[in-house]
Amino acid sequence: MKYSYFPGCTLRNKAKDLDDYARACAEKLGFSLEELTDWQCCGGVYPLGADEIASKLPSVRALNAAKKKGQDLVAVCSACYHVLKRVNDDMANVADIQTRANNYMQLDTPYTGETKVLHYLEVLWDVVGFDKLKEAVVNPLTGRKVGAYYGCLLLRPSSVMAFDDPENPTILEDFIRALGAEPVMYPYRNECCGGYISIKEQEKAAGLCKKITDSAEGFQADCLVTACPLCKYNLSKNSNLPIVYFTELLAEALGIKEAQE
């Protein structure tokens, strides 16, 4: 199975781990990620305004490129996934945005939301299957107590993201379980880490992160997994609790991490 792959700006440098492990694990699990040739940054945040068209165009280009290849479009970074999926929804369902974006793009055939946007975790869940994933684990993470940190962007708004239950998601917990570790349930796993606010208001972000990591530690988590470089940055900066990308954990369980090191 081949997927179009949108790595995103951060996975190209600061979050290279997230990217490398994702690709390596994909090969091991029998699917491959073909990076789109000339993708542009998604912008990091979804432009909420109904009249913001230009800032949605990079996503439309990526979506259209995947459409031309006849592939689903996979993202690993929560923010890229969020932006791509919401722009795609606009292109499928919001007539005004659809018309105006297509007017800009001047495509041979207009893009109307045909591409399916998937998060890497969804590929693991829906295509590979967590039971198959479990079988592929060579280095089960037995005894590790891992808290899933979802943050905001994977889950909300659920009407568009339709990723998991927005208040009590389970996909990462199931993933952790498949790798042989013990998932730790804690209530603030879908609360905001502060996001972009940390550029100007470190203390604000620190407070929010502390609430999250304190809660996870209270429930005995050894570490947290996340899919978002910004969440990882904020949480790591404000806590001693190890924060790892879910792909790193995956690579470790599949025996890829050691091989690469």
Binding site: S159, D165, P166, E167, N168, M185, P187, Y188, S215, G218, F219, Q220
Partner: protein
């Protein structure tokens, strides 16, 4: 050419403000056959009807058209008026120039033009109306009440007291319904069982009432006065006549895993069970899914211990067929599922409960024997938070758009009872509005605040977060102080929205009773006929029609009973004369009409016909006008055009089409 009169109603300013009524009158007089036309402020008023009466007499009118409100509102009024004055009531047509015209258009010229066209269509139709005579049908003097909660019980008792037979069909093993699950009732705090049980006993003992518990309505056919209903009596596996209700079977039954529905699944029960101690009938049922004997053939312990020999594993479901003149729907409600409200951690924490679950916890017969304790660790909660409007007043796809009406009052009740019995327990209520319209209701709520020190906070809760120490962190807001509140609670109670019992959809379909987008049954008129369904002979009692508390439910139950009694008191009912009729010269006896008739109203007979001088025997469709409900399915199916519907004949409808397209 018939002489037609046209009467244009102003409806005060409802019509006249948007439709030029004088113009309608003027143009009506130009229509063929119209010999009289006039307008009047309120045609439906006594004085308006007098004008119609005089016009009928003076002009020897042979048909009238009233341009007014919807025929659903006053067609009957004007038909009666015509009949009193010697004009066949079916020679009256209504042009709906209010709901379908003046109320939806703003431009006077446009509305007037439309009103004129609607008038013309009605005039064209009435020229072709036939004088019809309503037939008569007998009334079966027995009523069916579907649902044995307080609504159904009260309706049944009231009908039975008037001397008519009533059957109650209840799908649970006992009558009693939701009210039997409640601990205390507002605003008097009397014990629910203490006031309900006597009613249950009264119903059971009443010579005119038959109770079918563990039974469901399976099929309904017929029409007002003459319903035929199949009732499935589910296998109880216990002989109702032999059982003495001693209860030893329940004590000895080794299968103790099934969740106790009566206690909202908070504890378990045996496979053979009566839902609660005061159950009526006091005869247990065997839960076939959980019974070891029925599933494996082994066990049989209940049979061994039953001294009365009442256990019968061979029982099968039984279908009984009964005749009724009237049917009352009293199917009640349930609380909504909370799966979509993950932020309140209902599925994550045992100490987040619904208010109905709290009723069971507070009740002496409940899972904690009436002690207020946390279901997670059995500890007494010291800090309780109530959250109002969970799933009510929502316009998203998670909840219900309506106010559930009872929650403000029962929460005040719970808060007060807890503060009274456990004074060292703090109670906080997060509310949006406190709605207390009802006798002694606001006083009751104020007592909770002023005398019992319940802490009411105006604001909602965004999240309930279970903490490592087992407590619940409530993230709320106080809108009056304009600050966020973090409250550590031991128990959170959700005032969960109520919704009609999910079975009501199936029942409404069987009864062809209409239902609204929230699954509440629709009334014939929201103000003036609140206990009648638009389907004749079907009546509404209790929450199936809309959220209600107990006093309102009982009042409506009585009102529904009165309507049933009024129906059953009649020996004969007038039937709708707008029935199908076959033209014997055109009918070729092909049977296609009988195949589409939902009422089995069409049969065939061989009859001698005189077809333009040729006499021969032919097989001809005959419509039983008592059974025909006038849908018209047969008229369109008939390949030779022999079948027509009186009152809505092909010629009449075509005349309307022509008038509109003119």
């Amino acid at each position: 050419m018939r002489k037609i009169g046209v009467f244009v109603c102003h409806c005060g300013s409802n019509i006249a403000a948007t439709v030029d009524v004088k113009k309608v009158v003027e143009l009506a007089l130009q229509e063929q056959g119209v010999v009289h036309a006039e307008d009047y402020p309120y045609m439906c008023s006594e004085a308006g009807q007098v004008r119609i009466a005089e016009a009928i007499k003076e002009n020897k009118l042979e048909g009238i058209v009233v341009c007014s409100c919807s025929p659903r509102m006053h067609e009957a009024t004007f038909r009666k008026c015509a009949e009193r004055n010697g004009l066949n009531p079916y020679l009256v047509e209504i042009a709906n120039i209010r709901e379908h015209c003046s109320w939806i258009h703003k431009d006077m010229a446009e509305a007037t033009e439309k009103a004129v066209i609607l008038m013309r269509a009605a005039v064209a139709k009435v020229h072709l109306n036939a004088p019809l005579q309503a037939g008569e049908s007998a009334v079966t003097k027995r009523a069916l009440v579907i649902g044995g909660g307080i609504a159904g019980i009260q309706t049944a008792i009231d009908i039975a007291d008037a001397g008519y037979k009533v059957d109650i069909v209840e799908k649970e093993p006992s009558i009693g319904g939701r009210m039997s699950q409640l601990d205390k009732t507002f605003p008097t705090l009397d014990c629910s069982a203490c006031i309900l049980t006597p009613k249950m006993v009264e119903a059971a003992a009443h010579e005119n009432i038959t109770i079918h518990t563990w039974s469901e309505v399976e099929k309904v056919s017929g029409f007002v006065g003459n319903f035929t209903v199949d009732i499935r009596k589910k296998a109880r596996y216990v002989d109702m006549d032999k059982c003495t209700g001693c209860g030893i079977c329940q004590e000895k039954c080794p299968s103790k895993k099934p969740l106790n529905e009566f206690n909202r699944g908070l504890n378990t029960r045996s496979a053979i069970y009566t839902p609660f101690a005061q159950a009526i009938p006091n005869v247990p049922v065997i839960d076939a899914n959980a019974c070891i004997k029925l599933n494996t053939g082994k066990c049989g312990i209940c049979e061994k211990f039953c001294q009365a020999g009442a256990i019968d594993y061979t029982q099968k479901d039984e279908i009984i067929t009964e005749q009724y003149g009237a049917i009352v729907v009293a199917t009640g409600f349930d609380t909504i599922k909370l799966d979509k409200y993950g932020e309140y951690a209902y599925n994550e924490s045992k100490d987040v409960i619904t208010s109905l679950e709290l009723e069971r916890i507070m009740n002496a017969a409940g899972p904690t024997k009436g002690h207020l304790e946390r279901l997670s660790d059995g500890k007494a909660p010291k800090e309780i938070v109530f959250i109002q409007c969970v799933g009510s007043r929502c316009s998203d796809d998670r909840g219900k758009p309506y106010c559930s009406k009872i929650c403000c009052m029962y929460t005040a009740k719970h808060a007060m009872l807890i503060r009274d019995k456990y004074p060292d327990t703090n109670v906080t209520v997060f509310y949006i509005d406190v709605r207390t319209p009802g006798k002694n209701f606001d006083e009751f709520y104020r007592r909770a605040v002023e005398d019992y020190g319940v802490n009411y906070v105006k604001g909602q809760v965004g999240k309930v977060a279970p903490q490592p120490d087992g407590s619940l962190m409530v993230h709320g807001v106080d809108l009056l102080e304009n600050k966020q509140i973090l409250k550590k609670a031991d128990m959170v109670v959700l005032a969960t929205a109520i919704e009609p019992n999910p079975d009501v959809r199936k029942i409404a379909t069987m009864l062809t009773a209409s239902i609204d987008t929230n699954n509440f049954l629709t009334e014939a008129h929201p103000k003036l006929r609140p206990v009648e369904s638009p389907t004749a002979g079907v009546f509404l009692s209790g929450v199936c029609q809309g959220p209600k508390d107990i006093p309102e439910t009982v009042a409506q139950a009585g009102a529904a009973a009165v309507k049933v009694i009024g129906l059953l008191a009649k020996d004969k009912l007038k039937t709708n004369p707008c029935t199908a009729k076959a033209d014997e010269l055109r009918c070729n006896g092909c049977s296609q009409c009988a195949n589409v008739c939902p009422y089995g109203a069409i049969s065939y007979e061989t009859r001698q016909v005189n077809d333009h001088g040729i006499r021969e025997d032919r097989r001809i469709a005959v419509v039983n006008s008592a059974l025909c409900q006038g849908c018209g399915a047969c008229t369109v199916t008939c390949p030779s055009g022999a079948m027509d519907l009186q009152g809505f004949s092909n010629r009449q409808i075509i005349a309307e089409v022509d008038a509109i397209c003119r």
